[in-house]
């Protein structure tokens, strides 16, 4: 894939040079930001709800062993089969094996970022199993042969005009009218019979309810319900941090999740699955599997990143991130983009290959401000920078520069002298109040002017004043 070969900076350069991408990003993130802001004005108890949400998740994470076993016990009692996966590869191989055991030729999938994280689309394709993405945006991603660029709006990177063109080229009976409704109808015609003829349905889960062994999924299109009902086998994949103690806790988290993600009070559909079809049930799968995935989560718990395990994947951090809003999601190179992705990708892919992500942040703190579970994202990103420094991944020039800076700045007289010389050198390059063409300032002056320093430093002038008094 292209993302793997180009550096972060090269990918960023490409994204910045794409005006259509910027239009697409602004439409989606701008709308999300406005709708969330309106929702917040109607949700004055947000701070209290956020504190409660944080406490629920912290409690579960502190007692993960207890709740995982409780969930497993109750899920098995409901008739589900529970599978445990340590790594992404183990998880996707379990799903592929279950599909093969079910003799599946065609599987339908409900959008799930965990599925992306464990590389499920690729693993199914490799296994020769026909994969049908049923979420409209995921359908667009699949048609385009690319990857999700946002965790809530996976096809954010395409404008509706581009999608219209793609549908006309690739759908069997594409839309005639240029309306959203006509385009949705086109996708519906394309997908409907596949929904009904799939052998296995694969979904994710927004929450796992420990006291019943149920899973909870939210969608706005109803595709999760249509996907998971007709096939004989339903497989749920979920990260182990998705646990909540009970239904009441899930509802408390849903209030935070939906408002933070889309600004709505509730999603169109909130579905709970609990075990396979029971005697007397008119529909539902005969087999119900739950694959619980660690993939670095217990390591995060051990390595000081437990705050990140609160994340409920709402996307508010990226919608409010000045960097994400310039670049979109693909530039981040991992499954998850934006601030939460910059924290998570080094966990999954290693710090060496994703070193840029924690650095490409202005530390402005907006992501933490909007996070519905108060994750200190800037602190976690700085934690990666600290680790990168300690592991020697930072460039020698930066190490040398900061070493010199600290040496000088811890010696006031040397520092005074250094500053006085520095501004005089800068003034040699100054014309009309601006520094022009000075070596070492190119990264700044390529894009904006650098204001010239004063003739003398504050400390020089202040000392003269003091002497004169």
């Amino acid at each position: 894939m292209q993302e793997a070969t180009l550096s972060f900076k090269a990918r960023a350069k490409e994204a910045l040079a794409d005006p259509t991408l910027k239009i697409a990003i602004d439409r989606t993130t701008g709308t999300a930001e406005r709708k969330r802001a309106v929702a917040m004005t109607q949700f004055p108890q947000f701070e209290a709800a956020r504190e409660r949400g944080k406490r629920i998740k912290d409690h579960v994470i502190a007692n993960l062993d207890h709740y995982l076993l409780e969930f497993e016990r109750n899920a098995i009692a409901s008739g589900a089969k529970v599978h445990w996966a340590r790594t992404a590869e183990e998880a996707s191989q379990i799903v592929v094996r279950l599909c093969k055991e079910a003799g599946a030729k065609r599987v339908t999938r409900v959008k799930s970022m965990l599925g992306e994280e464990i590389g499920l689309p690729h693993a199914l394709d490799e296994a020769g199993i026909e994969r049908v993405e049923t979420d409209l945006a995921e359908h667009i991603v699949q048609l385009g042969g690319d990857r999700p660029s946002h965790i809530v709006w996976p096809s954010m990177h395409r404008t509706r005009e581009q999608v219209s063109e793609m549908f006309k080229r690739l759908h069997r009976a594409p839309h005639q009218e240029e309306t959203i409704e006509a385009m949705v109808d086109s996708a519906r015609r394309e997908l409907r019979d596949k929904f009904l003829s799939a052998d296995v349905a694969i979904s994710g889960a927004n929450f796992l309810l420990a006291d019943t062994g149920a899973t909870c999924t939210v969608t706005n299109e109803g595709n999760a319900e249509l996907t998971t009902t007709p096939p004989r086998v339903h497989i749920v994949t979920a990260g182990i941090e998705k646990l909540v103690p009970s239904m009441g806790h899930a509802i408390a988290m849903l209030r935070l999740l939906v408002r933070s993600a889309t600004g709505a009070d509730v999603t169109q559909y909130t579905t709970f699955h609990c075990g396979p079809k029971q005697t007397g049930d008119r529909d539902g799968p005969e087999e119900f599997h739950i694959v619980l995935v660690d993939n670095g989560r217990t390591r995060m718990l051990r390595e000081g990143m437990k705050d990140m395990l609160r994340c409920i994947r709402c996307g508010a951090c990226m919608n409010h991130c000045v960097v994400f809003r310039q670049l979109g999601g693909h530039v981040y190179g991992g499954t998850y983009p934006g601030p939460m992705g910059a924290v998570l990708t080094p966990v999954f892919d290693g710090l060496e290959s994703s070193r840029d992500l924690p650095h490409a942040c202005t530390m402005n703190g907006k992501c933490q401000e909007v996070c519905p579970v108060a994750i200190p994202l800037p602190t976690l990103l700085r934690g990666w920078r600290d680790r990168s420094w300690r592991e020697g991944l930072e460039p020698a020039t930066v190490r040398f520069g900061l070493g010199i800076h600290t040496f000088v700045a811890s010696r006031p007289r040397l520092y005074r002298l250094g500053t006085a010389i520095a501004i005089r050198v800068m003034r040699l390059f100054s014309r009309g109040g601006l520094v022009k063409g000075m070596p070492g300032l190119g990264a700044w002056t390529a894009y904006r002017e650098f204001p010239a320093p004063a003739k003398r430093t504050f400390m020089e002038m202040y000392k003269d004043q003091e002497k004169g008094q």
């Binding site: 109040g433 894009y447 202040y462």
Partner: protein, 263 residues
């Protein structure tokens, strides 16, 4: 606790304030330092400028170089802990001392505790003038319009938002034109702007557009780093908007060249 010291008459003598000029103001724009000095004196403080002051260590801290940040944090604490208050014309440097020194010194509980105690007495200029000194500028006139950018560290780490507006409201003739996205980062981010200049440029480009759309003649803010970034972009665009640190306006010292103008 500190906000009520003056009200309850705890200042039998004027508070002794250590002014942390900040490295950027010292080198790039001393007028902000002199404006700060004047405002603090007008507010009734006894101000000293300790000669040993250098840099707060934020560049090292945000680069992941926690050990070097700790060296400079200790230096800062030793330099300033003898004062009643420490004040700086920057939310970013004060945010570093108040919010992050204890983190940088976490391996050394005694120093971390000293950092916490000093942090409680360290203030960004605008919030110190309003929240601690209950100061309002008198007899300052400036017939023009301004828009205000809320720098992120001051806004989110220190809660600086209303204070500069309350102070600027007392300048006669000066009218505020709201800035769309006033709380959105300008793309400076310290070393971010030179590590990722193209991304930084895209962010500050949108900020400069919003500043121009505000229709204001002046851009004011409380952090010189952000102001240099925005003023630099406005200049490159050929904009007529002039940029000053809010302290310069409040001290009646905005008569000279703006940031990036010939002097």
């Amino acid at each position: 606790m500190t906000t009520t010291l003056k009200q309850i008459g705890a200042f039998s003598s004027p508070p002794r304030v250590g002014l942390f000029v900040t490295c950027l103001v010292d080198a790039m724009r001393p007028s902000v330092g002199f404006a700060t000095l004047k405002l603090l004196r007008d507010a009734g403080c006894r101000v000293e400028v300790p000669d040993a002051q250098t840099c707060c260590g934020q560049p090292a801290f945000n680069s992941g170089d926690t050990a070097d940040a700790a060296v400079l944090a200790r230096h800062f604490i030793e330099t300033f802990e003898g004062y009643d208050y420490v004040v700086a014309p920057s939310g970013s440097c004060v945010g570093m001392t108040r919010a992050h020194y204890a983190e940088a010194l976490a391996d050394d509980p005694a120093w971390a505790e000293r950092a916490r105690r000093l942090g409680e007495r360290t203030y960004e200029l605008m919030s110190f003038l309003v929240d601690v000194m209950h100061f309002a500028p008198a007899d300052v006139k400036l017939d023009t319009s301004f828009t205000y950018h809320d720098s992120c560290s001051g806004l989110r780490e220190l809660g600086v938002h209303d204070q500069p507006r309350a102070l600027l409201d007392k300048v006669s003739g000066l009218t505020l034109k709201p800035l769309e996205g006033n709380d959105v980062c300008c793309g400076f981010g310290g070393t971010f702007c030179v590590k990722y200049p193209a991304i930084s440029n895209a962010v500050v480009g949108e900020k400069a557009d919003a500043i121009e759309r505000s229709g204001a003649s002046l851009l004011l803010g409380g952090d010189l780093g952000c102001l240099m970034n925005m003023a630099g972009k406005l200049k490159r665009k050929g904009s007529n908007v002039r940029s000053f640190h809010a302290a310069e306006v409040l001290a009646g010292m905005a008569g000279g060249p703006a940031i990036g103008e010939e002097r």
